[in-house]
């Protein structure tokens, strides 16, 4: 089959690789009809996330048709011919984390748990196409994928919906939604979202669906801010204005009630000297993050507010504003999304028209053009927000 693979730092390549096979009894093989490029794929390609290997198949947002199931998958759960969206965390459904619906912290699905333990203290779930730190599972930017624990994760799509309407249930829609849900939104809340990329856009839409009075979008790309504004959110361009002053102005001096960091380690903005400091530290690998968005969210949030972090952080950071966090009674909440928990309810919201995931798609390319897609997405060319690949 054809698959998009990691070919070294800043290089991806579509190659011929063997077709996937059933390795565990609860596996299914899915013929992929749509897959997407995610912002966090860029961290892998950049080399910020360690443990990538030449030939690793990329991609963790995908959907398709089940063409084979293992002997351990009950027929009432999944059958050949079913149309499914596959969540990015691989979860066993049986461990204590899964029992608590903390699917991205599954204790059984990372066959390389030892290394994750060293990096994170405890291991996390296996993730498709997401380095050997999360298990070394082949990804879904391919014609076919092996899906372990197929009786736990994949969501059957029976309604008459397009791939584009449901594909993002695999990651970015639940991720954005969880970012808003962790904010415990009240009707009077002003919610500020750092990052108007795909996850940020969905966090904004979710905050509105959950009842926020006002949603603010913070970014520097005019086309991303326009996209947020068209969806009814208030744009703030950090290249043009001082973010903290603008946020105070928009909130009567209080600061946003709830702040969502939908940027993570790729944040590039901020005061020049702090940015340079971060870049140098990151370049020498003594710090794995450039956490400017997180610092700014903490400093801007109103006292007693919530800072919700859904941007991806991989390792350690310094200059964490612990003083603001502690002295102003802030609540910090975070998590890699527990996708399985949200897929069904969000499918309902899509069916009822409360959320329209298709609004962020700017590009659709054949799988063979994945490398070009990564380039366009990474360099924000051609007003690129989200790319869907068709194998």
């Amino acid at each position: 089959m054809r698959a998009n693979t990691w070919a070294g730092r800043n290089k991806v390549e579509v190659r011929d690789v063997p077709d996937p096979k059933i390795l565990n009894s609860r596996d299914a093989i899915v013929r992929i009809t749509s897959t997407a490029i995610c912002g966090s794929d860029l961290h892998l390609v950049d080399g910020y996330v360690p443990t990538m290997q030449d030939g690793d198949v990329l991609g963790h947002e995908f959907m398709g048709e089940v063409i084979e199931v293992g002997s351990g998958v009950p027929g009432d759960r999944l059958r050949v011919g079913d149309r499914v969206v596959v969540p990015f965390p691989i979860s066993c459904g049986a461990c204590a984390a899964c029992a608590a619906e903390l699917y991205s912290c599954c204790e059984n699905t990372n066959p390389n748990a030892g290394i994750a333990e060293k990096m994170f203290g405890h291991p996390v779930a296996g993730i498709f196409g997401y380095s050997h730190l999360t298990g070394g599972f082949a990804g879904g930017q391919a014609q076919y994928a092996r899906v372990p624990f197929a009786d736990v994760g994949p969501l059957k799509i029976e309604a008459d919906l397009t791939d584009e309407q449901v594909l993002f249930l695999s990651d970015i829609l639940p991720t954005g939604y969880m970012g808003a849900e962790m904010c415990d939104i009240q009707p009077s809340d002003v919610v500020a979202v750092w990052g108007a990329g795909p996850v940020g856009q969905f966090a904004m839409d979710s905050a509105r669906v959950l009842g926020a009075a006002k949603v603010i979008a913070i970014d520097k790309e005019p086309y991303r801010l326009r996209m947020a504004e068209q969806a009814g959110h208030v744009p703030v361009n950090f290249d043009e204005v001082d973010v903290r002053s603008r946020l105070l102005e928009l909130t009567g001096g209080r600061g946003p009630d709830k702040c969502i960091d939908a940027v993570g380690l790729e944040a590039t903005h901020g005061s020049a000297h702090i940015g340079a400091y971060d870049r140098i530290k990151q370049a020498v690998r003594s710090e794995t993050e450039r956490p400017h968005a997180l610092r700014q969210a903490i400093m801007s949030c109103r006292s007693g507010g919530v800072v919700s972090v859904i941007g991806v952080y991989g390792g350690f950071l310094d200059k964490f504003p612990a003083g603001a966090w502690m002295n102003r009674s802030l609540t910090l909440r975070t998590g890699q999304c527990h996708v399985q928990r949200y897929m069904k309810p969000l499918l309902g919201r899509i069916e009822r028209g409360e959320l329209d995931p298709t609004r962020i798609i700017t590009h659709t390319l054949p799988l063979d053009e994945a490398a070009r897609g990564f380039d366009i997405f990474k360099n924000k060319q051609d007003d690129c927000e989200k790319i869907v690949l068709k194998p």
Partner: protein, 180 residues
């Protein structure tokens, strides 16, 4: 060499105990064990793969057992690598799970065998035992050892860190298996 490791498994102590007490199950999750053959009610014959082409073998006997709580064993006769072990099964505070506490003591001999064995255990014997217990947890909670494309051989992927590329296996690779 003294090793201890612990894990929590979401199954009742009686079930975890029963699985372990059938010693023939141990090689399904312990990377260095090839086979355990029970030879009597409390006696067994153990085989571990060795790096120099010759298996290490020994007889063992259960020295102490309290059903549902504890099993202790030791090697007997002329073992290449004399060893003792204890596993305790302790109900976890959640009322559902079992804490498994394992302790192993290996008497690593001198000479060529000793050197090979020491090398075989590698630089991180604790890591290996932790990984063994993680696979025990997988087997009891999910039914089998979880395989990924980077570590397709389950427990036989003895060294976890250096995995193969995360892409599907060719038929030839599948055929050749872990020792390829």
């Amino acid at each position: 060499m003294d090793l201890v490791a612990t894990t929590t498994i979401r199954k009742p102590a009686s079930e975890v105990y029963t699985f372990w007490r059938d010693l023939q199950n141990l090689p399904t999750f312990m990377a260095h064990l090839e086979q355990i053959r029970t030879t009597g009610d409390r006696t067994s014959h153990w085989t571990a793969a060795a790096p120099f082409g010759k298996d290490v073998e020994w007889d063992a006997e259960i020295t102490e057992e309290t059903p549902g709580e504890r099993i202790a064993w030791r090697s007997t006769g002329h073992a290449d690598v004399p060893n003792t072990g204890t596993v305790r099964f302790v109900p976890a505070p959640d009322g559902v799970s079992t804490e498994v506490h394992v302790s192993l003591v290996y008497d690593i001999p001198g000479g060529a065998v000793g050197k090979a064995v020491a090398k075989y255990f590698g630089e991180e014997p604790h890591q290996q035992l932790d990984d063994d217990l993680r696979r025990l947890k997988q087997v009891l909670e999910t039914g089998e050892v979880v395989r990924s494309d980077g570590a397709p051989w389950g427990k036989r992927a003895r060294k976890e860190f250096p995995q193969r590329p995360a892409q599907p296996l060719s038929d030839a690779e599948l055929e050749k298996g872990a020792d390829a």
